[in-house]
């Protein structure tokens, strides 16, 4: 018997604002002036906070952390597409997404000073905590979305992860669940070309990461992750679809990790300066500024003021975070259970005697 074709699939790539700042008018998403300025301002905040944190880490004032530089558009524009009631599940490199969702800089700094206090999400914010084990947050987003269906909530979940995460079982199992249950969830993969020292092409033999969605029965789309307009449009579209019962979407943002993997990493071991240089030309912030200027929404005077304001805001946050006194040992016991068992009380009393001030 002759074989017959039983499936044929394609993956599209979306770019709206190109490297030089030229916009595709037909695809340009509708955003208010305030939204556009918020997007730009938050990307600048993220970039500057990142630089400050690297220098603080070098001075021993912060622990190891994963810089965000280069991925600001992928994070800020996608997080901006969320409504207040939607949930956001970050991986470990999502400082920019956090800022876009209203997390204050002080909280981010506290976390990186080695305090769980930085994980404390303010009431009313549906932002989940940093997830260090790669891909482990993905099933939570799917389950949270399934709960939305059960509770008949008009909301959706957005979960961030990297190209490396797509190799983990948790990624595949979660996408499969999302497909089966038509969960209102958007999978946002930041393909920043590297998982520490492993380049994207050595991570998987698939031509794209977006196509992995097809195997689980829903759409995957690739977008220029350094194009804030494309990221916003794709995420908004996917969230709207999810909320209307259309099920999940996988978005692969093509972007680049401009810095070291974490402050403990030395990228000169595995990648060339030329490669990094080539991506500088595709910078997400630079082209968005050109776009704003062309729309007459931005000038150099505003730029100078923004730079000053953000510097001041960061200085203030650093001061506030560094003014927080070291916590007491009780803090490591108090949240073990709703109630401390007698044994834990005893251990806490021992620990109190050895508190280092």
């Amino acid at each position: 018997m002759p074989t017959k074709e039983v499936g044929r699939y394609s993956v599209t790539y979306l770019q709206i604002l190109d490297e030089s700042g030229i916009v595709d008018k037909e695809l340009e998403p509708v955003l208010t002036k305030d939204q556009l300025l918020f997007l730009y301002k938050t990307m600048v905040q993220a970039r500057k906070l990142d630089a400050k944190m690297i220098s603080m880490q070098r001075q021993g004032r912060l622990g190891t952390f994963a810089p965000v530089k280069g991925q600001e558009a992928s994070q800020v524009a996608s997080a901006m597409a969320l409504d207040q009631d939607d949930w956001m599940f970050p991986a470990f490199r999502e400082a920019a997404a956090y800022l876009a969702r209203g997390t204050d800089m002080k909280g981010i700094l506290l976390y990186n000073r080695g305090s769980e206090e930085g994980n404390r999400t303010p009431q009313g914010q549906n932002n989940f905590m940093v997830a260090i084990p790669v891909a482990s947050q993905i099933p939570h987003a799917v389950g949270c979305a399934m709960a939305m269906t059960i509770k008949k909530e008009q909301a959706a979940c957005l979960v961030y992860f990297g190209d490396g995460a797509t190799s983990e079982g948790d990624f595949h199992e979660s996408l499969n669940f999302a497909g089966v249950y038509k969960a209102p969830v958007v999978f946002l993969c930041q393909n920043n070309q590297w998982a520490i020292s492993v380049p994207r092409q050595r991570q998987t033999a698939s031509a794209t990461l977006a196509q992995k969605a097809i195997a689980y029965g829903f759409a995957g789309i690739q977008v220029d992750g350094n194009d804030a307009l494309a990221v916003y449009a794709a995420t908004k579209n996917a969230l709207d679809k999810a909320k209307q019962g259309g099920g999940p979407t996988l978005i692969e943002c093509i972007t680049y990790r401009m810095e070291m993997h974490t402050t403990a990493d030395d990228p000169s071991k595995y990648r060339s300066d030329e490669e990094v240089k080539a991506w500088e030309a595709k910078d997400p912030i630079k082209r968005f500024k050109v776009y704003l200027q062309q729309k007459n929404l931005w000038d150099e005077r505003q730029e100078a003021k923004l730079q000053q304001d953000v510097d001041a805001e960061i200085e203030k946050a650093v001061q506030d975070a560094e003014a927080v006194p070291k916590r007491r040992v009780d803090e490591m016991f108090n949240y073990t259970f709703a109630e401390l068992s007698p044994r834990l009380q005893e251990e806490r009393d021992t620990a109190r005697r050895y508190q280092i001030l």
């Binding site: 622990g63 190891t64 952390f65 470990f92 976390y111 000073r113 080695g114 305090s115 769980e116 940093v130 260090i132 084990p133 790669v134 891909a135 490396g164 995460a165 190799s167 983990e168 079982g169 948790d170 998982a195 520490i196 020292s197 492993v198 050595r202 991570q203 998987t204 974490t262 403990a264 990493d265 071991k269 595995y270 070291k326 916590r327 040992v329 803090e331 490591m332 016991f333 073990t336 044994r343 834990l344 251990e347 806490r348 021992t350 620990a351 050895y354 508190q355 280092i356």
Partner: protein, 325 residues
Amino acid sequence: MAKLTMVQALNQALLQEMKRDNTVVVLGEDVGKDGGVFRVTEGLLNTFGEQRVMDTPLAESAIVGTAIGMAINGIKPVAEIQFSGFAYYAYPQLEAHASRIRNRSRGRFTCPLVVRAPYGGGIRALEHHSESKEAIYAHTPGLKVVIPSTPYDAKGLLISAIRDPDPVIFLEPKRVYRAIKEEVPDELYTIPIGKANIIKEGADCTVVSWGAAMKTTKEAVEEIEQEGKSIELIDLRTISPFDEEAIIESVKKTGRLVIVHEAHKMLGLGAEISAIVNEKCILSLEAPIIRVTGYDVVFPFFELENEYLPSAKRVKDGITEVLAY
């Protein structure tokens, strides 16, 4: 002989054993080009090529699962899990398969592999990077668990682990990785798995520890000895199957026992050691056995990690308490 750090000693062990035995391969995340995030596998890719030094995709279950597949077919894999906190993804493979292959196949198939992972606290690491969960593996029959505390031990124990006919979980105290240097023989040598190291003999109290907690324990013991007491200090080296005989012989002599580990107190190895001593030589005891351990809480983020970890002062107080009887 050269003075080496633990990282250098481990690297030398891998290099020399891979040269000696071309069935030994290394696989894991960032072990090739990057040389491992702690540089334990530095240079191996250049020496042995991509077939024997594999930068794998990011998937712990597949790293250990494929290592099992290689092991049953004549290859000796040394799989690296980048941090022990991510080995849980691979635990089903270890528990359901690696530990049972000899048993289930009645010896027809065996699984001689090594899973290396840095473990333990004290380096201001990220969340999930500082735990000591050796008891999980020790509670899995069929797995051996080895934990070196010095560069010399690290080289000899890793070579033994690679040559061992059964699966070995090899936990490396990352706080020690670069903290000390000691003379390490240039040539290949082995240290037996299952044998403790009596670091120093003593008459008044036995102190047992291993891995990351060994350094603080030594400090505490030195301080106590300056006060005129004589301590027998034992480095367990292998925590499963551990050297019961060494501990029991020692306790029979000293009548007192303190166990120090970074892992949680609840069902940590200290509990098992204490139980064995109670079963086999309770009548030699002149004081209750004391455990100085991590607390039964989630390992705290680094601001409070030095409060979680047994400090020299806490260990010293524990020994003093036992000596008071």
